[in-house]
């Protein structure tokens, strides 16, 4: 009877969204054998130790456990299963996706098979805000085919190679030399293999950026799908991490998920506070190992530009390269005189344009150059497109 209840509990947890592995239920049963059913706190602690693998999941687990324990009553009691089934129709109120704005509802899925002809180049280089519905679709299709050249960094590991490397592979050569009476005839080298650098994309989705944030999210999705180690955040008045949502292969459904997750579409902007949140909560977890950080925003800051400057300075210290992407930067005669942008610019490595598909494609191609010996912190305008 207990076993059946535990299986039902496992199902409940899975429905609640916890990653349950097949062995968990059995392990939980073993644990309960050991500690008994007398103390609720201990049974819950055992369940936490087995089913929870992230701190965030603990609350979810506790709620499910509360439900389970209440229904469970006496361990010999049978009716838990049917009642659990009722729950299936009306699942407990776990953080449900809040139906957000329909920012993406108007998106028609990109038809990749459609042959893109002469209009292509125009669409590629046109300011995204000027494109019409079908052209937007084509633009998205172009982005979906993006093949980024990822920036690399040396790993701290050693790998053996024939080519000359940083130091000789002594252990290997010694072993080989035994065949030749202790004389090393063959050379091998050790070197640090290169790995893709983490890329962190932070996109402004406030009202003033509406036209461009859609393009940027497609870009983020394409980047995530290319296998690059990316982290993606969006912000308007608050910061939301959307990395997990973008891992879904289909761009439309990925962005639909993002739409449900994010609550501050097309509102105001608090860049400083959003970056402060990033610096406090996420920097040590996601911006590690020399990340390249891309912030896309027009710099229209409703909050305090001074805070923005301070947080930019901190972010700049934590990452390898910090770039600011501004859709307006490609316009002729552009001068960065928005207060937020002025506060941010002293801390960025470059200000880049990002208004068109072409400029994003070029960005994706040039990410690899980040690894080269370009000087850090030149705060001039760069980028040609």
């Amino acid at each position: 009877m207990i076993a059946a209840n535990l299986v039902a509990f496992g199902r409940l947890l899975r429905r609640a969204g916890l990653a349950i592995s097949p062995g968990s239920t059995e392990l939980f049963a073993n644990a309960i054998d050991l500690i008994g059913f007398d103390h609720k706190a201990r049974v819950r602690a055992a369940g936490r130790a087995i089913y929870v693998r992230r701190r965030e999941d603990r609350e979810l687990f506790d709620r499910a456990f509360g439900l389970f324990w209440r229904r469970h009553g006496d361990p010999g009691d049978a009716p838990i299963l049917p009642r659990m089934r009722q729950d299936r129709r009306a699942p407990p109120t776990f953080p449900a996706p809040i139906p957000g704005s329909d920012a993406f509802a108007e998106d028609v899925s990109p038809r990749i098979d459609k042959t893109l002809a002469s209009g292509d180049e125009r669409i590629r280089h046109a300011d995204f805000a000027t494109l019409t519905g079908p052209e937007i679709r084509d633009a998205f299709a172009m982005l979906a085919r993006l093949v980024p050249q990822l920036p690399l960094r040396p790993s701290r590991r050693w790998r053996m190679q024939r080519r000359r490397g940083a130091r000789p592979a002594r252990a290997w050569m010694l072993r080989r030399s035994l065949r030749t009476f202790g004389e090393p005839l063959q050379w091998r080298w050790l070197a640090h293999p290169r790995r893709p650098r983490p890329i962190v994309l932070i996109t402004d989705i406030s009202g003033s950026m509406e036209r461009y944030s859609r393009l940027m999210l497609r870009f983020a999705h394409a980047l995530a799908q290319s296998g690059a180690p990316v982290e993606v955040f969006v912000f308007g008045t608050r910061l939301t991490r959307i990395t997990r949502e973008l891992m879904v292969r289909d761009a439309d459904s990925a962005l639909e998920r993002v739409g449900h997750l994010v609550v501050d579409w097309n509102g105001g902007t608090r860049i400083g506070e959003s970056l402060a949140d990033l610096n406090r909560r996420w920097v040590r977890r996601t911006i590690r190992s020399g990340a390249v950080v891309l912030i896309m925003s027009d710099g229209w800051e409703r909050g305090d530009p001074e805070l923005l400057g301070a947080e930019m300075a901190r972010l700049a210290r934590a990452c390898y390269r910090l770039y600011w992407l501004d859709p307006l930067a490609s316009q002729p005669g552009f001068v960065p005189e928005v207060a937020g942008l002025e506060a941010a610019l002293p801390h960025v490595d470059a200000l880049l344009p990002c208004a068109s598909v072409g400029s994003l494609e070029e960005l994706a191609q040039r990410l690899i150059e980040v690894s080269s010996r370009e000087p850090r912190r030149f705060h001039t305008m760069s980028g040609s497109s």
């Binding site: 062995g23 050991l34 706190a41 201990r42 936490r48 701190r55 603990r58 050693w158």
Partner: protein, 298 residues
Amino acid sequence: MTPLDSVDAVQRALAATGYLADTDLATALYLALRLERPLFLEGEAGVGKTELARALAGVTGAEMIRLQCYEGIDQATALYEWDYPRQMLEIRRQESEARPTGQPPQNIFSESFLIERPLLRAIRSRGPVPPILLIDEIDRADEEFEAFLLELLADFAVTIPELGTVRAAVRPRVVLTSNRTREVHDALKRRCFYHWIDSPTAARELEILERRLPGIAGKLAAQVVAFVQRLRATDLSKVPGVAETIDWAAALTALDATELTPADIDRTLGVLLKYQEDVARLKGDGARTLFAEVTARR
């Protein structure tokens, strides 16, 4: 050695060594010991993750073997390595003895040239008490190492080509810790009992403090804890852990303080806060305000 045959027994035995574990942690640890699975501890720095492994070693009287992870850690530094310079010398020595037979050098890959690293040491432990293997800050190692570890933790056996397979006679008790600078793979966590260590409640923190610093003035201890607890609720880059509380209280005691004063707080803030931004924010007025809040409450 105390038999660790119930949650209560685990809790009591740890308390006897000065480590105060709450029910959740004691339950997770008890299950890990009884069901022979690693215990995976996550939490902010300074909440006592590493300390638990030490306490556990103290309780069981076992040897504690610690593997500190870092980016780029590999088998050679974690498991075993051959002593290359000595092997070279040995080859030269055998050569100089001018063996007329023209035989290749002998016994170069033998036990005496093996350098044992923490993981191999844990596997080769003779017991009878299972050693405590502490794999510290696994989040700093890269994913390849994680995969290797996963394999090792599954059967505690390792094959050294020249010497054969070594299998653990007694299964080490494993404690893994992570500061969560990145998400550790689910596959690894799945094999473990997981526990997130929260910051302690005020009462528990006071208890911990008084156990760790028996000489501390009662008033100072209470104020220190109240202040730190209040500090944790503020928006800091790095909130102080229990370790910082203890260090801070020790620093204040060393300054002969018997109660908290704004001047002393200012002088010693660096012990408590590890980021310049945080120190700058709290120095002077910030700390004074918090101090006033804390003292007003009692």
